[in-house]
Symmetry: C2
Subunit: 247 residues, 2 copies
């Protein structure tokens, strides 16, 4: 049995807030073996990863790209700043590879739920480090260390709609690799590696609505994938350009 349960009552998060302290104050009866899925936006806000568009001076490249795709040139400038490469820019959509290695629309830069008009929220600078820090903070405050998955909604090639995925992970096996193990008939599995952290992010997303202010979801039932050490993080989910067939 897997259960996904929103933690209620988290206040609006601001720059400099101690998110572990805010979550610990909710008295949510967390256990070792639980997984906390945390929408990246509250982490980005606590870390000050919010940009005032009024302070952005777009370059010529941003101005041209914005004109082609009917976007705000200041937002496009922020997107370019967050990107290692533009993967596709077509039909008003800019798909980027971020400096972290994530491939997503607008390099994860988003105006919704930003907290202030004319501001945009970025992905955390190092979401795996953010996940580790939150887990460590919860351990100190609560004496238990649930795994932490930092999440964002990404679109997909070939399929409509977005799914919540893991952008930062601490203490959860990101990919459960069954290669070399056997199916229920004893046949060796050749190509089964389950993206547990992404499935956990997706499961958590079902437990909230986009206007519900429930950025933190507790997942129970994933104990077999939760590890005492923080593990390789969401970095293990990323194909390098050399490994990928669609870059």
């Amino acid at each position: 049995l897997i259960a996904a349960n929103p933690l209620r009552g988290l206040p609006e998060v601001r720059d400099g807030d101690d998110l572990a302290a805010l979550i610990a104050a909710l008295d949510a009866e967390l256990r070792d073996g639980d997984v906390l899925a945390v929408a990246h936006k509250v982490i980005s806000k606590a870390e000050g990863r919010v940009v005032d568009l009024g302070a952005v001076s777009p370059t010529r490249q941003a101005i041209e790209l914005a004109r082609e795709h009917d976007k705000d040139p200041r937002v496009v400038q922020v997107v370019l700043d967050e990107s290692a490469a533009i993967v596709r820019a077509q039909r008003g959509v800019i798909i980027c590879r971020t400096h972290h290695g994530f491939v997503c629309a607008n390099a994860g830069v988003d105006a919704s739920n930003a907290g202030r008009a004319d501001h945009v929220v970025l992905l955390p600078r190092d979401p795996d480090a953010s996940a580790r820090a939150l887990r460590a903070g919860l351990r100190v405050r609560l004496g238990v260390a649930p795994a932490v998955v930092v999440t964002d909604s990404f679109g997909r090639a070939w399929r409509h709609g977005q799914c919540e995925v893991a952008v930062g992970v601490a203490g959860l096996t990101p990919v459960d690799d069954w290669r070399g193990r056997h199916d229920s008939e004893g046949r060796e599995l050749h190509a089964t590696a389950i993206a547990v952290a992404d499935e956990a992010a997706a499961a958590a997303d079902l437990a909230r609505t986009k206007d519900s202010r429930e950025p933190v979801i507790a997942l129970r039932g994933l104990e077999r994938h939760v590890t005492p050490d923080d593990g390789p993080g969401a970095a293990a989910l990323l194909r390098t350009p050399a490994e990928d067939l669609f870059l």
Copy 2:
């Protein structure tokens, strides 16, 4: 709260079996508003979508592709038969667009859990129709009509590991479209459409292991996405080649 619970005790499914009857016999206390996530393999088996490789004569194209990618030419022939197009064939991986429009490795053709040596399982011919038929069969037998999601594990561009996704849907909103609605601060959301059926498939997958013979998972807590009519199905999740940036 979302809960995912495997239904236990389903027997090995064979060609011609009435899957609705087998599930109804489990006495699982299903309700209207529940979602049943069903691994496609049991549906494919019940529908006879299993191929005896001993009866396959590979064409020259299949033999060449098999040699290039170190695969069984008979399996490659089946993959070609299931494909509308080869999207990529590189480094031993053959990514196909199936006749249904799914983009996935090997057109969904799989040897694991096939039930018999030297056999492979295909995707159902029309997984949305399979989902509708199963839902209708459950309604007749149980007097309740949980939504049905037929699932398979697909790899992804840019990310390691597979996630379970929806290949057939009846009675669940496949994409929850928030465009035109508002975030928690009243700002209009421009590009948020949540692939609910795929997130449901992923959540269900967390509740089983690949060797557990638990193809059917009941999800509770998604009532707001469950509809009396069967709806547009998983077809609504597919980008056409004209809409896609990666085909």
